[in-house]
């Protein structure tokens, strides 16, 4: 993307007015998407975005500028703008040497597949999904299927001599359905997403996705209002895993910790969860949605144990927050695009499987709610209060899964809920998601086996 001598000159220019650290993050991203809606291929879209973000750190201050102009003069202009924060110190020429280059072209596993996809192939998949969803039941009134693929090349150089590249392919396929019945309309959604090219569809059947989405909408046609108040909740394996993402994942991000805006600040070594809880964030897992070769600061992805047997072991770190603590980044510095500053983000966050039997957990729950599929969630890291939504849930009566429930949000407090996990099964599965923080979205994975929480407040309309 950019020649090494140019990078060196730009980094030198970025430090001309002072500052201890400078970085060039260059990105070239191309994406394509197609949507089939209401039985028609409505829109094929292609996008191309290329540019660089330049960061200068001086003391506790970061200067940042980005440009779509990757010529040396364009980069130098951005370096000048980013260095404006460091006017007080430095002065004169700064020489920076970087390299050799690590990992260019394929450090991210699974990224070497078949990036070049014919548009006709993706449309064929959409048609098959539409057909399968409509065949799932006469009450299916509307189907929308979407395909999205992207290729992202990054090149990161910094004044500490780092020079690293990565190439990340991501592919996503989703189906959403509407079913109509006597009680109105209900919706169902399912998605598959991996850090691979078109070979996603070697592993994933779009018909299966469509049937899952349609089944969800259909089953809710006869759903009754969700209960309201505190109930025991069993979360199915792979139902979303978003519980831990919200209940503690965000609260373990070091930017919240250093600003004392997390309930988990100062808790390392403390028992913060049930002994059944071992939570891991791991950017190296196979081709999961949150996997990458290097993070957006050039640090290799790694496996980080955050909670072990209920005891808080560590937080998640990016370069800036780690530097302040005199330690290394944990490979969690991520950004949405070159136009964004990196910050501490999760990758694939999951609860390790336990020893219980999934069916037994349900059988031993006299009364409660069984959540087969979760929607999104949200957390206030300072108070620990978080919500997560259901998109497929059932009542548990006398140890059996019975009637379907309408969608509702559940609300809890992270540190309290983590202590209420009293059973974890073996049927582990991961799901993809999009995590938003401070206006930036990044792909993440979430995972868990079937587990039970002894009490969570569910916000249905039934009294």
């Amino acid at each position: 993307m950019i020649d090494t001598p140019v990078l060196e000159r730009v980094l030198g220019a970025a430090l001309r007015h002072g500052g201890e650290f400078a970085e060039v993050f260059a990105e070239d991203r191309s994406s394509s998407s197609a949507v089939l809606d209401d039985g028609r291929v409505e829109e094929l879209s292609s996008g191309r975005d290329r540019g660089a973000g330049i960061r200068v750190v001086s003391g506790d201050t970061t200067g940042f500028a980005h440009t779509a102009d990757l010529s040396e003069s364009g980069l130098l202009k951005a370096a000048e703008a980013a260095s404006a924060v460091a006017r007080s110190g430095g002065g004169g020429a700064t020489t920076v040497a970087v390299g050799p280059l690590h990992g260019d072209g394929g450090a991210t596993r699974g990224g070497s597949g078949r990036p070049k996809v014919s548009k006709a192939d993706s449309l064929e998949l959409l048609g098959r999904a539409d057909e399968a969803a409509r065949a799932a039941g006469d009450a299916i009134s509307q189907v929308q299927a979407g395909y999205g693929g992207s290729r992202r090349q990054v090149l990161i150089a910094n004044s500490e001599g780092l020079l690293v590249g990565d190439e990340q392919f991501r592919t996503r396929f989703s189906v959403s359905c509407v079913a109509v019945g006597d009680t109105g309309m209900q919706t169902g959604f399912e998605t598959a997403a991996r850090t691979v090219g078109f070979e996603l569809f070697d592993e994933v059947s779009v018909e299966d996705l469509a049937r899952l989405a349609a089944g969800r909408a259909l089953s809710k046609l006869s759903a009754r209002p969700a209960p309201s108040g505190e109930v025991p909740v069993v979360l199915a394996g792979g139902s979303g895993g978003i519980l831990f993402h919200e209940a503690c994942g965000h609260g373990l991000e070091a930017d919240h910790i250093v600003k004392d805006s997390s309930v988990y600040a100062g808790q390392v070594g403390e028992q913060v969860a049930s002994p059944l809880v071992t939570l891991v964030d791991d950017g190296t897992v196979g081709t999961e949605w949150g996997t990458f070769g290097v993070d957006d600061e050039g640090r290799p992805a790694q496996r980080n144990v955050l909670i072990e047997d209920g005891i808080l072991t560590d937080y998640l770190w990016d370069y800036l927050r780690a530097r302040k603590e005199g330690r290394l980044s944990s490979g969690n510095g991520r950004r949405q695009t070159y136009q964004h500053l990196p910050m501490v983000r999760m990758t694939n966050t999951f609860l390790l499987p336990g020893k219980d039997d999934a069916d037994e957990i349900v059988a031993q729950t006299p009364h409660g709610v069984y959540v087969a599929k979760l929607g999104g969630g949200q957390v206030n890291t300072t108070t620990g209060d978080f919500v997560f939504g259901t998109t497929e849930a059932y009542l548990i009566e006398d140890g059996k899964i019975t009637e379907p429930l309408r969608d509702a949000n559940l609300i809890g407090n992270g540190p309290e809920i983590l202590k209420r996990v009293d059973a974890v099964a073996t049927d582990f599965a991961m799901t993809p998601g999009t995590c938003g923080k401070d206006g930036q979205s990044v792909p993440v994975g979430c995972g868990q086996a079937t587990l039970r929480i002894t009490g969570v407040t569910i916000g249905g309309t039934a009294e």
Binding site: T187, K259, V379
Partner: protein, 463 residues
């Protein structure tokens, strides 16, 4: 990879140049195809203060193009984050190629001028460009210091930001559309953490405007501090049926959610609970809902919509009776009506869709402010913020279940704070249960007005 230095065809400072770029690309249309070219350029500055220092200073310029091509009622789209000469031609070519794969649909067409004159709205602050960066830095530092010292219970200022931006857009099509607009914006935004003993609570406040002048740090700080401090000592509230008063900011969110069910596109595709109900009573007689982007006070005020047609006032619900929906050109054609000038697009990387810009409920005849609504309600729950709106509100089924925090209302006044509760109903029922609409209309960032609302018979889940 080598760096290609390409001809740059547009530089900041001359609005006529964007129009020239758009006209040049539209001029490349072939016989038998319609082409629409959207060209945008923007500048932005963002300064975050922390603990008396600048934490980060971002300055950036971006530009890009989005092209829609319609050939034989087939639509293709492509975008690029650059206005380099070679990119323009590639983007048009890619959109053209995409069109060939779309389904032929007689309703697919570009907008044509409809004779409705645009109401000029002045969204450009001439003074913004002349504000020096140090003045902006000072604004962020002052905000942070002010928030930190506002109340002895403020333990932390988690964010204190100044930001501004300007954007210029030109839209040209071979069907006769030729529109251009530009706008500036500025904001101050602050997040605080209040503490007492072990308990912490958060609050946010902001001040927005078209530029630098007039931004009000006192207002932003007072709002953030009040919201955090009054929540100290919050406990999980009681369960039961209750009247819920949504504070102005929460009400904006509520109206925005309802707006998606008023999209003629959602209606045509069977994804709105309003479908087929024009002329019916869909809410209480106090519900009169209008989208009027020609109101210059509205945050979303605009002269032109996302297809270059004039924005106009659209009455959607009058006295509780559904009057009609919002349409862009394609959705209008599907419904057999003209566009209502309601196409919205999220920048050059997105295609137009149907949306509100300035939705507001007609203020109740009583002329209530917040205190007036509280007095009228007497006893109930005051919600100051909601969470999980994206996971718990479904504008297709109408199911509504959100996390909430706020204060109990007793004898017409705010009483003790409550948190970790949910509030649930259906959007359909909520429209019928609106018991008071405040006259305290304020235009905050977003697509709907902020005004205090009281809704009866909602299910609250807490202890």
């Amino acid at each position: 990879m080598s760096t290609a230095i390409e001809e740059t065809t547009a530089r900041s400072g001359d609005p006529g140049e964007l129009m020239a770029v758009a006209e040049r690309v539209a001029g490349w249309a072939r016989t038998g195809e319609d082409v629409e070219v959207y060209v945008a350029r923007g500048d932005e500055t963002e300064i975050r203060a922390y603990d008396g220092e600048v934490e980060s200073l971002t300055s950036a310029t971006s530009a890009g193009i989005g092209v829609r091509v319609v050939v034989d009622h087939r639509l293709g789209f492509a975008w690029a984050g650059s206005l380099d000469g070679s990119v323009l031609a590639e983007t048009l070519e890619e959109a053209r190629d995409n069109a060939a794969f779309a389904t032929r649909d007689e309703h697919v067409q570009l907008a044509v001028p409809d004779g409705v004159a645009a109401v000029p709205v002045d969204l450009w602050d001439e003074g913004l460009a002349a504000v020096p960066t140090p003045a902006k830095v000072a604004a962020a530092l002052t905000l942070e210091a002010q928030a930190r010292g506002a109340d002895p219970r403020i333990r932390q200022v988690s964010s204190a930001d100044y930001g501004d931006g300007s954007v210029e857009v030109a839209l040209v099509s071979t069907t006769g559309i030729r529109s251009a607009y530009r706008k500036t914006s500025g904001y101050l935004s602050v997040g605080v953490i209040a503490g007492e003993g072990d308990a912490s609570q958060t609050g946010g406040g902001f001040s927005v405007g078209r530029g630098f002048e007039g931004l009000d740090p006192d207002r932003a700080t007072a709002d953030a501090v009040e919201r955090a401090v009054r929540m100290l000592g919050a406990t999980k509230g009681p369960s039961g049926r209750n009247t819920v008063v949504f504070d102005r900011r929460a009400a904006t969110t509520l109206l925005s959610v309802i707006s998606s069910a008023l999209s003629g596109e959602a209606v045509a595709k069977g994804r709105s609970f309003f479908a087929g109900r024009i002329g019916e009573q869909v809410g209480g007689s106090v519900v009169t809902l209008v989208d009027d982007p020609t109101d210059p006070r509205a945050y979303g005020a605009a002269a032109y919509d996302g297809e270059g047609l004039a924005c106009r006032r659209n009455e959607l619900i009058a006295g509780g009776v559904l009057q009609g929906f919002l349409y862009d050109t394609i959705a209008g054609s599907r419904a057999g009506v003209a566009s209502t000038g309601s196409a919205v697009r999220g920048g050059f990387a997105g295609t137009p869709g149907v949306g509100c810009r300035a939705l507001t409920l007609a203020p109740g005849a009583e002329g209530y402010d917040e205190a007036g609504v509280l007095r009228a309600v007497g006893d109930g729950l005051f919600v100051q913020s909601m969470t999980g709106v994206h996971s718990g509100v479904n504008p297709i089924s109408g199911d509504f279940s959100v996390g909430a925090e706020g204060l109990l209302i007793r004898d017409g006044k705010l009483a003790e704070p409550v948190r970790e509760i949910t509030v649930a109903s259906t959007l359909q029922r909520m429209l019928h249960s609106l018991v008071a609409v405040g006259a305290d209309v304020e235009w905050l960032p977003g697509i709907a007005a902020a005004q205090t609302l009281a809704i009866g018979d909602m299910q609250v889940s807490g202890v």
